[in-house]
Symmetry: C2
Subunit: 583 residues, 2 copies
């Protein structure tokens, strides 16, 4: 395999030299800027064998550099041949010293957003846009493109017709003085047209582009073979289908057209005349779920909570002496989800991590890392489902066998107190997730501890499990939380080599009952926390009351689907959380 990578690099360098290029950049991205890059577009993996989700390659005539972020440097050292590639930090910070004046560096304009291109432009090299990607030219046995037919997302799930959505966006464009907007995010088009696809792993997004006009009509660019007659009928006369290859010539005909720098490939913006940088007009209406989507979220979370609760019951009552391992746990959890109402599959690759593996924020079991679940170890499961009526994402950490150390309890309890502080906050309109982030960290900070990821991300409605603009993060992001937005609340703590803790529920932003101008969170996720990991002395009376009420809701909502024994187990938890006295 390593010989292949050396040979590929040689062939690529020859090709670059014959095109008069001193180098070429290979971001890990597809032309649609999806978060999950399919093997067909994963040129970084082809060149380097790296299997993580963040990578960027710069090939120069004598050297090649593999850039990744802090989460992945260990993995990169294992997977990437360092006689071929130097390994460095994130390309945004680390690439500039390699981009020396006078070099001619090629790039594929479909693999870079305008934002990334603007960042690279600051360097003194000459950037050469390549019509054909030289990596594709040398790629033998390239995996095929994902291919899934479009499906209709009925109004019983979407809650609003496409034509109504399009009319509102059209008004927005008029107000901004724009003739049209190029939609470059697949989830925006899926939302706008009330359709779903299947070209992105575990995410019902089709590979497509679109242009919405001031009239509300849409020119929709997609492989026509994905669009059945039924879907064509559903889309109707206001949606004009085009093959993807006609996009460029079509874009040239547009005037006063908006684009979003965060998702528009440079190739698209390059051909626009009179273009205006703006925000994807579907972003906010997609993020603010309507009443039907909100009710769908509530319903699918009950179905999903039932599966996870059965799984947690199963784990709590497992003997842990039969070699039951992380990979089997993934399948076991999936078996509980399978057959659930409207269930379509998982919403991302399940994290099933035991012992020290739980301390990796993004651990995925592989055959050579797979470990058995053992008594006395922590087990962390982060998983979610795609349902026709919503997308779920939930994390629980438990102590296998029930006996936790005081240190484990201390860490788990501080994470839990942070979770509750965020879940119960009431905040005025205009507040961003950046303002709220400290709430989950404050109890860890008391002991000089912290965790290195964001607290919460937006979640779509049978769409991406990560969506914007809403987020809860220490980065200072101007994105006020608004009613109908769904966010995760997932504080954690990771003790390298020992164990990791994360507790995650999804929450729905709601108008605050009784307090004008204020918002609050409605909890969507229902599954027990592990009382064996809680130091009850650290909890305030209010926190105990919250935990008792939460578990009473878990019982009330899930009990119709639980077995007698499972129900008894959850009932017992309510008693555990009965507040005795304040601490």
């Amino acid at each position: 395999l390593k010989g292949n990578h050396r040979r590929n690099l040689e062939v690529l360098r020859e090709r670059l030299a014959s095109s008069g290029l001193d180098g070429f950049i290979v971001p890990m991205s597809d032309p649609f800027q999806n978060e999950v890059v399919s093997p067909h577009f994963n040129r970084v993996q082809f060149l380097t064998h790296f299997t993580g989700s963040s990578g960027f390659v710069l090939v120069l005539s004598q050297t090649a550099i593999f850039f990744t972020d802090g989460r992945y440097t260990t993995q990169a050292r294992e997977e990437v041949d360092q006689t071929l590639f130097e390994i460095r930090g994130h390309w945004v910070q680390a690439i500039h010293p390699f981009l020396k004046e006078g070099l001619r560096i090629g790039f594929d304009p479909w693999t870079l957003t305008v934002t990334h291109r603007d960042h690279l432009k600051m360097s003194p090299v000459s950037w050469i846009s390549c019509v054909e990607n030289p990596v594709d030219q040398i790629w033998q046995n390239r995996p095929p493109q994902p291919w899934a037919p479009l499906k209709i997302q009925g109004e019983e799930f979407a809650g609003e017709s496409s034509s109504s959505k399009r009319q509102k966006i059209a008004q927005e464009l008029k107000a901004q003085g724009l003739d049209a907007f190029v939609l470059t995010a697949g989830d925006s088009l899926a939302w706008l047209l009330n359709i779903r696809g299947g070209d992105v792993d575990r995410t019902p997004i089709p590979f497509c582009y679109g242009v919405i006009h001031q009239t509300g009509c849409v020119d929709f660019f997609i492989d026509p073979k994905k669009v059945s007659f039924a879907v064509r009928d559903f889309l109707g006369a206001d949606i004009t289908l085009h093959p993807l290859e006609n996009l460029e010539s079509f874009l040239k005909t547009l005037k006063r057209v908006g684009f979003d720098v965060r998702t528009a490939p440079f190739a698209i913006v390059d051909v626009l005349k009179e273009s205006v940088s703006g925000k994807d007009p579907c972003l906010l209406p997609r993020a603010c779920k309507n009443a039907v989507e909100q009710e769908g979220a509530r319903q699918c979370h009950i179905v999903d909570g039932m599966a996870l609760t059965k799984f947690l019951y199963f784990l709590q009552h497992h003997p842990y002496d039969d070699g039951f391992d992380e990979a089997q746990a993934v399948l076991k959890l999936q078996s509980f989800r399978t057959g659930g109402k409207h269930y379509q599959g998982d919403s991302f690759e399940t994290i099933s991590a035991t012992g020290p593996h739980s301390a990796w924020c993004h651990y995925h079991t592989k055959p050579h890392t797979n470990r058995s679940l053992k008594k006395g170890e922590m087990y962390l499961v982060d998983s979610g489902g795609q349902y026709l009526n919503g997308t779920t994402d939930v994390t629980r950490t438990i102590i296998l066998g029930g006996k936790a150390t005081p240190q484990q309890k201390n860490h788990y309890t501080r994470v839990l107190k942070g979770y509750i502080a965020l879940a119960t906050i009431k905040f005025p309109k205009g507040t961003s997730g950046s303002h709220l982030d400290i709430l989950v960290r404050q109890y860890l900070w008391e002991e000089g501890l912290d965790f290195c990821h964001a607290t919460g991300h937006g979640v779509g409605s049978y769409l991406s499990v990560h969506e914007g603009p809403q987020c809860i993060t220490p980065r200072l992001v101007e994105a006020p939380l608004m009613p109908g937005m769904i966010l995760s609340n997932e504080p954690g703590y990771y003790l390298e080599g020992a164990y990791g803790i994360r507790s995650e529920n999804l929450m729905l932003v709601q108008e605050c009952k009784g307090l004008k101008g204020f918002l609050e969170f409605e909890t969507l996720t229902w599954a027990p926390f592990d009382p064996n990991l809680i130091d009850f002395d650290q909890l305030s009376l209010k926190e105990k009351q919250w935990l008792k009420a939460y578990h009473a809701d878990v019982l009330r909502l899930l009990s119709p689907s639980l077995s007698e024994k499972e129900r008894e187990w959850v009932e017992g938890l309510i008693d555990v959380f009965t507040p005795l006295k304040p601490s």
Copy 2:
């Protein structure tokens, strides 16, 4: 008086017309961008009679508009003749509709920072820079310029020689590839040269500009009559004095010179060649007080706390039947401060507000508003002193006569809980005040309440009572808190027409003992809180413990200067705050 304003406006319009101008803008600013504008430069007050601290006038041929922010609209309606001026919100948001395409609008380039100029540039008018300000040309009986001689700020207060400070800045310039930096903030120059002035009200800042070179030498532009022979000797050979009128021709000789858009007047940047936008290099070292400045802050706060504590004792034991009023209270407090070690005067105009006046965040007693202190009313005092070893700023709210309503107690206690949450937080390096701001608001938010000002501002060392970059605010400001920074912690709550509450101490950022990479606040301000305003049932055990310890420190630090009765009073407070049981 109103006739004068009408006549002035007529004369100004004639002058504008004869210069071919359709209008002229008059910001409330001096050429040195000081926060407090002296009467000599207050062209807005001259034109409109407005006495507040935020205003901006646009004079057009047929209309004139007075812009101010929300805090001042009521006052503007009282003070400004609305037959002459339309009153609008803050100019940054409200001016653009008046700037119609084709108009020729004049401006004085000394009255606008680059930031403001860039904002105005977005409008489609033609901007004409006026060498002479037409308002000055018609201003009869203009108040004279403030004029105060320079004084030496000895190393016993400054803690570091000017030459050492200048060498560090010089290194910084080299690292940035700059030949020089134009210093346009008076407090930066006062800090850098270890001098103080007196040209700004209650703030020891001189009117001056400076240029620091890569050599560490400084060209210093100031009225030479302000610089005695002793000060010239102190400044030494590396500081070259120039009269202010030579600035422009000097600036033209510079290459690769930095400037700060937030404080540089457009007039200065306009004459620079090869200029580079950057951050005032004195900003951070000035904000991060050295060990001597920190110790000075501790000492002057003890002296200042003694004065305020005596004043609070006096108020608590006053009969309130003798007509003792807000203005007398200001003088009384000043009398306690006078004679204190290193005391130089107040650091800003004292806010002495009783009853409904306390609900105005920025109330200043005037003869026609002055009110007597009455039993059963709230009294809010926000004041501070300038000391050679530091600057203070403190607010206390008390209930006169000691009997508060449950509502008053509820509001006061929620503000106090917020104060304590911020005062006791431990946070990792890299945290900005924007992350911390929610801590003081969370308990008000529980009842749908909030306050409309920032939580904290930076404070100088015998310099401005408001300094940057440090701040604690819901605006998302990227300004990590660093050891040595002094900030106010001043949450409040204002019930219009009834009462206002604010509790304010200054805090010093310190490395957190025992927690590597973490910071915490050291309290600087010492004066009792009013226990009659506290609902003890709302306090946690930790909060009661904090209050008890704080008042024990007040007693310990101030008792040498307190009378027997004052000491007994503070001693009694410690007992009041003795925690009985958790709530």
